[in-house]
Symmetry: C2
Subunit: 146 residues, 2 copies
DNA sequence: TTTATAAAAGACCTATACGTCCTTTATTGA
DNA sequence: TCAATAAAGGACGTATAGGTCTTTTATAAA
């Protein structure tokens, strides 16, 4: 239910890079995969996608790795959802009725609309920077699994 | 995102049966699949499951079909979720962190908790009967797709 | 007791999310 | 210019949700 693993990995990945970036260094896939306990090659695919979408940066070769760019911290969660699974999902009926809308609402339309709007609002407002500024001394631990 | 097709088909299926039951007749798969625009054999699988779980009734042979039993209308939406996809999903972290909890919350823990609790409350309170008593003259249309 | 009807059972197929692996390209320093 | 490093590219494999098909079992009426 709710969001895909891809989204979760993407968010944790970019947050990790942002966190380490404050120490002034880049991050390599090997380190990320190990620290976040995420399948390395799968993470590679997701990071590549985020770079392609312009929300972060990468350089190849020795001393290369992933780092922030001017957009990263301003990126909204909803953009990450769009990149990893497409936002249309926020607008589809719980009962997969194509013609469900306020004129012809399914029996769950109203309740779901409220919840979805709340979630959409949350994800549209919150940026990666917001999540990073939680002042949590255990921030890294909070995005790792083990 | 959110709920599976199986859940949607299950809900619409049982609501259709309940609605027709008021006319004092049973419903066959062929009719349901056609009216609800749902794959017939897939729906069969789902209806069978609901019968096995005891939330409705079926009889084979001529004049057979699906009908309500004493539990049907009292069934809560959350039970339908449990039957079709398992409720553990309501408790898993958006970032798929196994160790995400109030002591060690992921960056999205609090917001997601609230949304999920709202949804859980909604689904735990609402029964099929509640949905049926919407006094919608177009009720059948509202659960059909075409 | 035979025939028609309708669900139950279960084998099978398909698409997609999730995950792995290998090769290529870019970058660095010796 | 060579060797090492690290991401990019893309083929491939696996598990599961979603969907189809055929056979079996139960029931009703003639």
């Amino acid at each position: 239910m709710f969001l895909s693993k891809t989204f979760g990995y993407a968010l944790r990945g970019v947050l990790y890079v942002a966190y380490i970036d404050k120490e002034g260094r880049k991050v390599q896939l090997d380190e990320m995969a190990e620290k976040l306990k995420v399948p390395r090659h799968f993470l590679a695919k997701i990071m590549k996608l985020m770079v392609k979408e312009g929300i972060m940066q990468s350089t190849k070769g020795p001393y290369g790795g992933f780092s922030l760019n001017e957009h990263t911290l301003k990126t909204k969660l909803i953009q990450l959802v769009r990149i990893t699974e497409g936002v249309e999902q926020f607008n589809t009926c719980v009962l997969s009725l194509r013609k469900c809308n306020s004129q012809n609402p399914c029996p769950l339309h109203q309740q779901m609309l409220e919840l979805r709007d709340a979630m959409l609002a949350e994800f549209s407002a919150k940026t990666l920077d917001d999540l990073l500024n939680s002042d949590d001394p255990d921030f890294i631990k909070s995005i790792a699994t083990a």
